[in-house]
């Protein structure tokens, strides 16, 4: 079984400040973790993924995420937020073990609002 929790429905941050969007996961095998962003009236766009290796993953648009196995977390971060980062962010997980599901499970999404 696999599941994802995004505990915050909304995150507010001032432009120029660092931002964090939280994600915790549960998976019985090896976690493959993904972040996607959805702008209004658009499909989801891939930001970054963790498969194996370095716990700190860098992705598109200056975003990064840190994989923490002991806390089963994969929080999305950016050192300095832009107003244009305002969007809906989804975390997803799938079990990368042999026999694991090819279907990722998505969180409910977190709305990020960056204030000028």
């Amino acid at each position: 079984a696999q599941s994802v929790a995004q505990p915050e429905d909304q995150v507010n941050v001032a432009e120029g400040n660092p931002l964090t969007v939280k994600c915790t996961y549960s998976v019985s095998g090896n976690p493959y973790l993904f972040w996607y962003v959805q702008y209004p009236n658009r499909g989801l766009q891939f930001l970054l993924k963790y498969i194996t290796g370095d716990n700190l993953v860098k992705g598109s648009y200056g975003f990064e995420a840190e994989f923490n196995k002991s806390q089963t977390s994969f929080h999305l971060k950016k050192p300095s937020a832009l107003v244009s980062d305002s969007a809906l962010y989804f975390c997803a997980v799938r079990d990368g073990s042999s026999g694991g599901s090819y279907i990722p499970t998505f969180g409910r999404g977190t709305s990020l609002i960056v204030h000028p």
Partner: protein, 114 residues
């Protein structure tokens, strides 16, 4: 290159009518997924194709929903006898062969059932 495309972008229909939604995946992507996104909600998995076979149909909400895929190309999602609760954005995604590849999403079809 071209991304995932979906048509129509918007569909308004009357309760009880059938609708057909189309997805054109990225060329060469063997995996194709359909999701439903209700207003303010996350993604609800509907069905997964590997090539033209559907090993996982577990997310289809009722027998009014069906989907097919031609080879490793276009897929259609059909909803028969639409109900108001079917109103949502239907998203299609594709991914390349390999167990850890990310999904590429289309812009979605917004379905409104009156």
């Amino acid at each position: 290159g071209a991304g995932v495309s979906q048509s129509p972008s918007n569909k308004v229909t009357e309760k009880g009518k059938d609708v057909e939604l189309r997805c054109d995946p990225i060329s060469g992507h063997t995996a194709l997924y359909w999701y439903r996104q209700r207003l303010g909600q996350g993604l609800e998995f509907l069905i997964y194709f590997q090539g033209n076979s559907a090993p996982d149909k577990s997310g289809l909400p009722s027998d009014r929903f069906s989907a097919e895929r031609t080879g490793e190309s276009v897929s259609t999602l059909t909803i028969q006898r639409t109900q108001q609760e079917d109103s949502a954005v239907y998203l299609c995604a594709s991914s390349a062969v390999g167990t850890y590849n990310e999904q590429f999403f289309g812009p979605g079809t917004r379905l409104t059932v009156l």
